[in-house]
C-alpha cells in the first residue's frame, strides 16, 4: 500500500510540474508545443518494447511488435516534425539577434 502512495506522489507532483511549465506560453507557440508534447508521449515505446520482449506466444509477440511500430512512429515523427516547425521559427529571429549582436560589438 505504501508503494502505491509513492506512485501517487510521483503522479501528483508530475501533474503540477506539467501545468507549471506551460502555464504562460503564448498562442504563437501552441502548434509546436502540442506537437512536442505529442512526441514525448511516444515514450510509450519503452513500454511496448518491454511487453514485446517478454511475449511468450507468436500472437502476443505480433501485437507487441505492432505496438512498438506505432509508438516508434509517434516518437520519431513527433520530434522531427516539431523540429521542422521550430527551425523555421528560429530562422529569421536568430539572424535578427546576431545582427543586433553585431551592432553592439
Amino acid at each position: 500500500m505504501d508503494e502505491s502512495i509513492v506512485w501517487l506522489t510521483f503522479f501528483v507532483l508530475s501533474a503540477f510540474v506539467g501545468v507549471e511549465v506551460v502555464s504562460k506560453v503564448s498562442s504563437t507557440l501552441h502548434t509546436p508545443l502540442m506537437s512536442g508534447t505529442n512526441a514525448i508521449h511516444g515514450i510509450i515505446l519503452i513500454g511496448a518494447i518491454l511487453v514485446a520482449g517478454t511475449a511468450d506466444s507468436t500472437g502476443t509477440l505480433i501485437v507487441g511488435l505492432v505496438a512498438v511500430l506505432l509508438a516508434a512512429i509517434n516518437m520519431a515523427g513527433g520530434f522531427v516534425v516539431t523540429d521542422r516547425m521550430l527551425e523555421m521559427f528560429g530562422g529569421p529571429k536568430r539572424t535578427a539577434k546576431s545582427e543586433t549582436d553585431g551592432d553592439a560589438a
Binding site: P32, M34, G47, V51, A52, G64, L69, G78, F79, F89
Partner: protein, 459 residues
C-alpha cells in the same frame, strides 16, 4: 528488479522531458528543448534493453527502425499546411500503442493471481482511453484532410448512443477489474474505438484543433497509467507531464477561440449551434479586377494584411511577401494581423509565414493590432474568412459566436481575395462580404496575388 543505474537513467530522461517542455514554451529555447527531449527519448529507448532480459530483440529493433523511418519520413515530407492532421495521426498511433500494451498486460494477469485492483483499473483505463484517442484522432485526421465533411456530424439519437456506449464501457471496465479476462478487454477496446468516433463526429471543423489537443492529453494519461502498470517511473512521469500540460493547453486554446471545452465537444449535440448555411448565397457582392485592387493598395498609407489558411493552401505566401516588400518600398505601412487560430490550429499561421521567411516583426498579434484597423485604408484578407466574420460578435448561436475576431470591418476599405463564395472552415456565411466597403477579388490566391504584384509594380 530494475537495476539502479537504469532507474537513474530513467530519472535523467524524465528531467530532460521536463526541461524540454519548459524550453518549448518560449520561442528562443524551443528548438533546443525539443532536441533535448529527443535525445532523452533515444537514451531511454537504448537503456530499456538493459533493464531485463528481453527476447525477440531482432524483430523489436527492426520494428523500431521501420517505425522511426516511417515517422521521420512522414514528418519530413508533410507540407506545413497539413501539419495539424499529421499531429493528429501521430497522436492516434501513440494512443493505439498504449492500448495494445495494456491489452498485453491484461493477458498476463492470469499468471499472477494477486493483481491489485488499482493495477487492473489503470489497465482498463489505458485500453478504453487509448482506443478513444486512436479512433478519435483518425476521425480528426479525416476531417482535417477533408476526407469527410468538416461540419458537425450528428444524427438523431447520437447522445443516447454515446451515453449507452459510455455506460457499457464503464461496466466492462468494472467487469475486468473484478474478473480479468482478455476477451472482455478486446471488447472494451472496441467500445473505446466507437466512443472515440462518436466523440469527434459532432465537433465542427473550427474546433478540431482543441480536440487534437484534448486527445493528446488523453494519450498522455494512458501512458502515465501504463507506467504504473509496468512499474516504470519514466512512463509515469512523462505521461503525466503530457496529460497535465495537454489539458492546460486545451483550455488555453479554447480560451483563445472564445469557447469552453465542454461546449466544443458537446455544443452541436445540444442543438444550440446553427450548423451554418452550407450553401453559398447569391446576394449581390461588389467585385473588382486585380488592377483596381493594385491601385487601391499602392496609393494607401496603411495596409493591414489578414492571412488565412487559403493563402497557405494556394502556396501564395512567397508572392504575398514580395507584394508587401514592393508596397513597403513605395512607403506604404504594411503589417500582418495574425489571429491566434489563423490556419487550422493555434499558432499555425505563424509557422506558415515563417516558412515564407516573413520577418517576425511584421507579424502582429490580434490584441495588438485590433485598435489599428480604424486607421487602416485597406485591409487585404487573403484566404481567411472566419477570423474576420462579425457573426462572432453579432450572432448568438453561430458556431463561432464568442470567438475574438480581427476588427477588419472597422477599416475604410476591405478587399477579400477568395476563390469562391464558399463559406469558411466553420461553415457559416460571412456578412462582411456583403458590406458596402467590401470589394471581392475572385480567383486562386496565388494567381491573383501575382497579378496584383505585377499591377503594383507597373504603377
Amino acid at each position: 528488479m530494475t537495476p539502479t543505474w537504469i532507474q537513474l537513467g530513467y530519472l535523467a530522461a524524465a528531467v530532460c522531458f521536463i526541461l524540454a517542455l519548459k524550453g518549448l514554451s518560449g520561442p528562443r529555447t524551443a528548438r533546443n528543448g525539443n532536441l533535448l527531449g529527443a535525445v532523452a527519448a533515444v537514451f531511454a529507448t537504448v537503456i530499456v534493453f538493459f533493464q531485463q532480459d528481453l527476447d525477440h530483440q531482432v524483430p523489436i529493433i527492426a520494428a523500431i527502425l521501420v517505425g522511426t523511418a516511417a515517422g521521420a519520413l512522414g514528418a519530413r515530407r508533410v507540407q506545413m499546411t497539413q501539419m495539424p492532421q499529421l499531429v493528429a495521426l501521430f497522436n492516434g498511433v501513440g494512443g493505439g500503442a498504449a492500448a495494445l500494451v495494456a491489452l498485453l498486460e491484461l493477458n498476463e494477469f492470469h499468471e499472477h493471481a494477486d493483481v491489485e485492483w488499482f493495477t487492473a483499473a489503470a489497465t482498463v483505463f489505458t485500453i478504453a482511453v487509448g482506443g478513444i484517442s486512436f479512433a478519435g484522432s483518425l476521425v480528426t485526421f479525416a476531417k482535417l484532410q477533408e476526407l469527410m465533411t468538416t461540419r458537425p456530424v450528428i444524427f438523431p439519437g447520437l447522445p443516447v448512443v454515446f451515453g449507452g456506449a459510455f455506460v457499457v464501457a464503464i461496466a466492462l471496465c468494472v467487469w475486468i477489474v473484478v474478473e480479468p479476462s482478455l476477451w472482455v478487454g478486446v471488447i472494451l477496446a472496441l467500445f473505446g474505438l466507437a466512443l472515440g468516433v462518436l466523440l469527434v463526429l459532432p465537433v465542427g471543423g473550427a474546433d478540431v484543433p482543441i480536440v487534437i489537443s484534448l486527445l493528446n492529453a488523453f494519450t498522455g494519461l494512458t501512458v502515465a497509467a501504463s507506467g504504473y502498470v509496468l512499474q516504470n517511473t519514466l512512463l509515469l512521469v512523462a505521461g503525466t507531464l503530457v496529460g497535465a500540460s495537454g489539458t492546460l493547453l486545451t483550455i488555453l486554446m479554447a480560451k483563445a477561440m472564445g469557447r469552453s471545452v465542454v461546449n466544443t465537444l458537446f455544443g452541436a449535440l445540444r442543438g444550440g449551434s446553427t450548423l451554418g448555411a452550407a450553401t453559398a448565397s447569391d446576394r449581390p457582392v461588389r467585385s473588382a479586377g486585380p488592377d483596381d485592387v493594385a491601385i487601391l493598395l499602392a496609393y494607401a498609407q496603411r495596409v493591414i494584411i489578414v492571412p488565412g489558411y487559403g493563402l497557405a493552401v494556394a502556396q501564395a505566401q512567397h508572392t504575398l511577401r514580395e507584394l508587401v516588400d514592393v508596397l513597403a518600398g513605395r512607403g506604404v505601412e504594411v503589417d500582418y494581423a495574425i489571429h491566434p487560430v489563423a490556419g487550422r490550429m493555434p499558432g499555425h499561421m505563424n509557422v506558415l509565414l515563417a516558412e515564407a521567411q516573413v520577418p517576425y516583426e511584421q507579424l502582429v498579434e490580434m490584441d495588438d493590432i485590433n485598435g489599428e484597423f480604424k486607421q487602416a485604408d485597406v485591409v487585404l484578407v487573403v484566404g481567411a474568412n472566419d477570423v474576420v466574420n462579425p457573426a462572432a460578435k453579432t450572432t448568438p448561436g453561430a458556431p463561432i459566436y464568442g470567438m475574438p475576431i480581427l476588427n477588419a470591418d472597422e477599416a475604410k476599405q476591405i478587399v477579400f481575395m477568395k476563390r469562391s463564395m464558399r463559406p469558411g472552415f466553420a461553415g457559416i456565411e460571412n456578412e462582411l462580404l456583403f458590406d458596402p466597403k467590401t470589394t471581392l477579388l475572385f480567383g486562386d490566391a496565388k494567381d491573383s496575388m501575382s497579378k496584383l504584384l505585377n499591377g503594383v509594380k507597373a504603377l
